[in-house]
Amino acid sequence: MSRYGGKKMLNGEAVIEIKNLGRVFKKNWALRGINLEINKGELFGIVGPDGSGKTTLIQSLCAILDPTEGSIRVNGFDTVKDSSKITSRIGYMSQAYSLYEDLTVEENLEFFAKVRNIPEENFIERKKRLLEFSGLSPFLKRRVRHLSGGMQKKLALCCNLIHEPDLLILDEPTLGVDPISRRHLWKMIAEYHSLGKTIILSTSYMDEAKRCGRLAFLLEGRLLSCERPDAFGKDMEDVFIANIKKVEWKRTLPFPRRLTEGDIIRVEGLSKRFDAFTAVDKIGFTIKRGEVFGFVGPNGSGKTTTIRILCGIIPPSDGQVEVAGVDVVRRPADVKGKIGYMSQKFSLYIDLTIEENINFFGRVYGVDAKSLEERKGWLLEIAGLKGKEKALTKEVSGAVRQRLALGCSLLHHPDILFLDEPTAGVDPASRRAFWEMIGLLAKSGTTVFVTTHYLSEVEACSRIAFLHQGRILALDAPERLKAIYNTDSLEDIFMQVMEGNA
């Protein structure tokens, strides 16, 4: 039921006409030979692996990137000649940051409204609706800097709906957002669509792709196909993956096997307070060697804080933490060589080449020359970077960097690997490959502690902990959780657990 109370409109009229679009960046064709038409009122999805040209296409549609060849017409206006006529009528949510972090929620909305010349009365009314709708009303006076990722995206969407554009273009709108917020965002998008608006979005989530009217599949800058989701067949993800270069890699890791007996992490009564705010509230758990332990929870639930405490980066306020036999509270420095860490930002040095990054991390962790050579070779292969070692890290796509970052965190064969949202924003194929790798690692005795939003992935974990507002609400193996909550969907369990705690 639409709160806007509009009528559903479907029209075969083309809102966007793309003719032979091509765009080159320094000898690299990001897009080539794209021919596409998008009709009014469609919910149109753009999918494809990382680096396939999704963002380039979207920016071209918004008239903020001119084509090298071909043309695009939006509502009859050419993107090169009449760009201002286009930009004044669309809403665009970029993948990059689009809000002003020192301003509050209210101030951001006000700004976007004023920029679009929305008269005061309309603004007040729409603002109220949007805030309620997105659940942001209680945070009106909070600065964007202090909002979670999910809330920021919701706000960004609201800022782009404030002028009620007929055409809304979204670049991976739910990227890196927790499941609850993701659902909200989709609700908002779907509702807006039901008003007859045209919405174009790119995504790497399969379930979102399935909700679109039609999908354009991009691969290496070319349009592979453009159909309705069901035309792709039953298991779309498989189809997806089948079309992408298979990531071949050795099934054996260049590491010696390890014991898989005994506990490796022991946490008791762990709490962390930042002034008046309690980030982590008396949590405790034990992790065995060789486990793949999943930490799930919305942003702000304390996942990142917990990982940081376990790694010895920040000290806890209370509690005991033992990692790989090291009392992390008292001797945090001792844990350094035994753990590997991959943060959400895939912290590699972008101005170094791939090879230089590998060499650096290897040597800094004291890996001897021979082992380093072996492991480097392995890493380059699984990342599909053989032959490209001398490329600058900033030139490689996000998915490749993710694999590289994972590899670099492993070079010294740590006892435990801490991964903080490692698959955020990466296409399904890469995600699958990644989890296969984690499975292999676990089998060889490396313990993996991972936080993630993607509930489909935590199926692969030995045990999962649901974290909310600093407390662990549930902790068990996936099968047992499914039995307890009587459902096969982890996402439902997540919802229930969260709502149960609210």
Partner: protein, 375 residues
């Protein structure tokens, strides 16, 4: 050890790729030095004067010639009204005015004192002070001559008592300002690069998030800092070579002392500057802040060092404050090495002071760095 080498290698690689920074550093040490030395000077030469001579006698003529005979005054413009004087002074076309009254030569011939006026434009009190000094000296010299002549004519023979000031300028006999200037510029380059470069590279790790990653490696904090500072010190020391060449070969700066000592002293100075830079980075969240804070600290430190304004001309409170500026000591050391030819025996106390500053700041920064990880 291995890991320190790996860290050092990484820092050099990153440095190598930052072309803009390298160009800027080299520019500061070379082109900027040349431009400033050529352009800037506190000397006052090539002065023009406006002469309003109401007397028009041989005496007044002689007086004016005394001026133009010196190297300071090159031109004398004769005018015929005070208004003209006004506009010439106003527009800056003349630096001084000389007013010789009507009865000047009459008075002098009678043996009475004839006063002449020198008119200065106070818009530039630096130069005005100096111009006044020169003019006064010239006129006094003329007066002595005239008085002697007069007395001799009256029959007084012999010598007249006089204490002649024999001025010897040591270390820089021609008082070439550019020696001072070029050394100041090299010192300035040193502290700027030494302070801002480490601050920038350390803050950059904060901004990109790699700082977490690096703090998790077995690298200790002091190893991280050492690795970061090596590129800075390398390029700063290497840049001294072209600067030295420009100074000595290009501008004729004498080298009376030991060049190895110069490099040694510069290394200690850089050590302290880098310490200041690292400290600044622990205070800043991003590059903009790092730069602003650096300037906030740099300005007083430079100012109080005597490079812009002589320390002796500051009120005593400031003179005491200037003892806190490492640049002051470094200036004295470098001037000492090049112009005075002194060695370690004389300079060691100053070196020690500079080193102490650094030795205090580094541990402070390390402390802050370790704590700074805990957000």
């Amino acid at each position: 050890m291995e890991r320190l080498i790996a860290a050092i290698k990484k820092e050099f690689l990153q440095f190598k790729r930052d072309r803009m920074l390298i160009i800027l550093i080299l520019w500061t040490y070379t082109i900027e030095v040349v431009m400033c030395t050529m352009a800037l000077s506190f000397e006052v030469k090539n002065l023009h004067m406006a002469v309003y001579d109401m007397d028009r006698s041989q005496w007044s003529q002689r007086l004016v010639e005394k001026f133009t005979a010196t190297e300071y005054f090159t031109k004398a413009i004769y005018i015929s009204s005070l208004k003209e004087m006004d506009s010439l002074l106003d527009s800056g076309k003349v630096d001084m005015g000389l007013f010789i009254p009507l009865d000047f030569s009459t008075a002098v011939q009678k043996g009475e004192t004839g006063d002449v006026q020198i008119i200065l434009s106070g818009t530039n009190s630096n130069t005005a002070n100096t111009v006044r000094g020169y003019a006064t000296a010239i006129i006094e010299g003329f007066s002595r001559e005239a008085t002697k002549e007069f007395l001799m004519k009256k029959g007084m023979a012999g010598e007249f008592p006089e204490v002649e000031p024999r001025i010897r300028v040591w270390y820089n006999p021609e008082l070439k300002f550019r020696y001072f200037m070029i050394i100041s510029m090299i010192v300035l380059a040193g502290i700027m690069v030494g302070m801002i470069h480490p601050a920038a590279t350390m803050v950059r790790e904060k901004e990109t998030g790699t700082i977490e990653q690096i703090m998790l490696t077995p690298l200790r904090s002091h190893e991280i800092i050492i690795a970061k500072l090596l590129p800075t010190i390398t390029i700063a020391e290497l840049s001294l070579i072209p600067s030295l060449l420009i100074a000595t070969v290009g501008f004729g700066l004498p080298i009376k002392g030991s060049i190895p000592l110069f490099f040694f002293a510069s290394t200690i100075f850089l050590f302290t500057s880098m310490g200041m830079g690292v400290f600044v980075s622990t205070l800043s969240r991003n590059l903009q802040q790092a730069l602003l804070i650096s300037f906030f600290i740099l300005f007083p430190v430079l100012f109080l060092s005597g490079t812009m304004v002589p320390i002796e001309s500051m009120p005593s409170a400031m003179q005491y404050l200037s003892l806190l500026s490492p640049v002051r000591y470094y200036m004295e050391i470098v001037l000492g090495i090049f112009l005075k030819g002194v060695g370690l025996k004389v300079l060691w106390p100053k070196l020690l002071i500079i080193f102490t500053f650094g030795a205090v700041i580094f541990p402070l920064s390390l402390l802050r760095l370790k704590r700074g990880m805990y957000k």
